[in-house]
Structure formats: structure tokens, C-alpha cells
Symmetry: C2
Subunit: 209 residues, 2 copies
Amino acid sequence: MDGSPVNSSGSTKERILGAAELLFAQRGFEGASLRQLTAAAGVNLAAVNYHFGSKDKLVEEVFRRRLDALNESRLVALAKVAGAPGTTLEDVLEAYIRPALELSHDNSGALFMRVLARAFAEHDDSLRQFLSTNYGHVMRQFTAEFARLLPQLSKPELYWRIDLVTGALTHAMSGFGMIQRKSDVSEHAHREQTVQHLVRFAVAGLSHP
Amino acid sequence: MDGSPVNSSGSTKERILGAAELLFAQRGFEGASLRQLTAAAGVNLAAVNYHFGSKDKLVEEVFRRRLDALNESRLVALAKVAGAPGTTLEDVLEAYIRPALELSHDNSGALFMRVLARAFAEHDDSLRQFLSTNYGHVMRQFTAEFARLLPQLSKPELYWRIDLVTGALTHAMSGFGMIQRKSDVSEHAHREQTVQHLVRFAVAGLSHP
DNA sequence: CGTATGCTCAAACGATCGTTTGAACCGGCC
DNA sequence: GGCCGGTTCAAACGATCGTTTGAGCATACG
């Protein structure tokens, strides 16, 4: 009753990470067992503890593999517009949204957004602390830029709205990947359209009177 | 290392449901074991299977106990404003938001919103089908009223925005209950302020050009 | 050749999981 | 008293969990 025993190509570590991404998205961190996981990856059961040390470390590595590149892209995009006089709210939000959308372009990236949404909903302390200590500076930089562009909002008010917008975006992007799209729209055009969709929604949620 | 063995008062079934709400919110459906659960409730391990049949049925009952009342309140509030000529988007959104906020006023209700957010993030098929078949008509009625008040939006566009707003609201309300508030604001005034906050955000997200 | 080193393997470890069992207890009713 | 339906109890069931073990295999270097 487990998933198909088909293994992807690549090294043992990469096959484990790929299978973990899929099963964590489908059944959660506690619901996916190492036996299902290694069977799906086509590797031996002991390979997880050999290469990663423990299941918890594997979970961290699943996040690290994607978030290192994702948040780096976000910071690079933010640096191009932050602090400049003509920068708009749209520019900053696009710097936050577009890298995530490009990540969820391929199948495994979209699965990771599901995993991220799960971690967002779970209030697990150890996982939240891992994400906060390793990637907290990213959200801090974006928050500072939001504060600069929305000076009329009090700090509590701004944090409230950022929290709401972040929740909406995380939820929305966790639903990607499984969407059947009309064939007459090119991949690129559709992604561009989705970015504008999310950006406009976020602008409305952040800057409404 | 488990939670304190303090049991709440009430019947065995109610004690189990209360402990389940707490532990499901903290550790998830798979992460919370029946042994932790019954120990926290102060009842025998076999009581769960005796009163509910299985762990899965217990999960369904945790939802049913809260959602029956919550969605009934929402429909009653919606019926008071739906279809009327002077009804605004604010009225409809308030009918959706206020009952949930009143539920999360007490501690156990706030815990349930966490459980609901978890179910929202998990893409578990059986649980989604349970929620859809039992409470799908509620969201369908609200969607119909949104469509009436936002005729300029295409159907896909409307569904997109409702999905984004629902994700934001679910995430926001899952964070309640643990918030320390300044003592100079009354409980009622704070809730009223929060309702207006969420309503205004949702209006902006739904009706932006 | 011998021998390190990095990796994979089947097998087993103890712990914990959801569920079931059968005896014990309880109030109310004949 | 005797009995009975509803409930609680300790104990055990087989299954599955994360992790560890030690032998086996391959490749590289002296």
C-alpha cells in the first residue's frame, strides 16, 4: 500500500531528499516513515541515518536545500530595489513572490511549497526556531523595507498586515503544481500572470486605508 | 515527558475531546498518540475506542463538535444580510469572520482554530472529503453571495481571491489565544477591533481593481 | 598484493503505536 | 438478593516506528 518503488536518478542523498519532499508533503513529517521513504527512494533503510544522522536532521536538510537558494534569490532581488527613491510596494513584493513562484515551477519545487505550508501551520517549536535562526534575517529585511514604504502604518498594524499577507501567499503557493492549465497559455506567460495576481492582492492587503 | 495528567471536569467523552483538541493542536493528528491523549484526559486508554470506535472517528468528532455550531452561526448571520439590496461586502465578511472570532475567544476554541489550520495545510484526502461533504454548502453559499456583490470579477478570478482571503484568515485565526494583550483594553472592544481589522483586509483583497 | 575508506546491505534492537480482550465495577429494576 | 446494560480497567495483541549493528562490497593508494 506504499507508493511506487520507482527511484529517481542521482546520488543516494539526493534520492532520499527527493522522496522525503514528496512524502513529507503528502503525509507530514510524523506521518511519513523512514521505511516508506527509503522504499520510495530505492535505497536501504539505514541510508538515512548514515547520510543525515537522524530523521530530524533529514527534515532540516530538506528545508535547507530549498530555502538557501530561495531566500538568496529573494535578497538579491530585494537589494536591487530596496532603498531606492522610486521603488514601489509592487517592486518589493515581486522580489519576495517571484523567486518562490519560479521554485514551484517544477514539480518537486511545488511539493516543497506544500512542505513549507505544513511547517507554517504546525506550531512546532524546534522547527520554527530552526527556520527563525537560519532565515529570520530575510523576513526582517523585507519588513524594514515595508516599513519604509508604508510610513503611515503603526508598527503593530504593519506586522498584522504582513502576517496576513504571508499567510495568504504561503497557502496559495502550496496549492500549485497540481493545477491543470489550458494548453494555449505558455508556461512563462502563466507564471507572469500569477505573479501579478499575487502582487496585486498583497499590495491591496498591505496598503488599504 | 508527557503533559500534566490534570483532567478537566465533565464526562469521559468530553474530557477526551478536550484533550484531543489540545494535543492535536500541539502535535498534529499523527503526532499525538492515544496514550498521551488519554493520560492528559485522565481516562483509560481503551475509552477512546469504546466511545468513538477509532482514532480517525475521534478526529472527525473533534471537528464536528465545533464546526456544527460555527457554521450554523455563520449561515444564520449570512441569512440576515444575503440578497438584501443594501448589503455590503463588509456585512458578508463579518458574517463569516465574527462567529469564528467569538469561538476563538475562549482557550479551547482558540486551540480548535489551530487544529483547523492544520487540517487546512494538510492535503489529506479523507479529511478534506469529510469537511467538504459535511460543511461544503457553507462556503458555497458565501461564494454565491460574493459573486453577487462582485459582478465585475470573472469566476476564476473570484475563486482565486476567495482562496487567498480564506488562507489569510485561517492562518491569522490560528494564531489567536496565545496573544498577551494590554490590560486597558476590554475583551469585547479588542474582539470588535480585530473583526474590523480582518474585515477590512478581506474587503481590500477581494475588491481591489 | 594488502589494506584502508566510503558506502550499502539484511537483520535485529527496544520502544511505541492503534486496537482488542475479558474481567471487574456500577447503578437501576425485577 | 439476583441480574443486566453501560462503563472502566489492566493487560496483552501484532504491527510499525527510529535507530543501531556488523558483515559485505567496491574503489583507491601504498
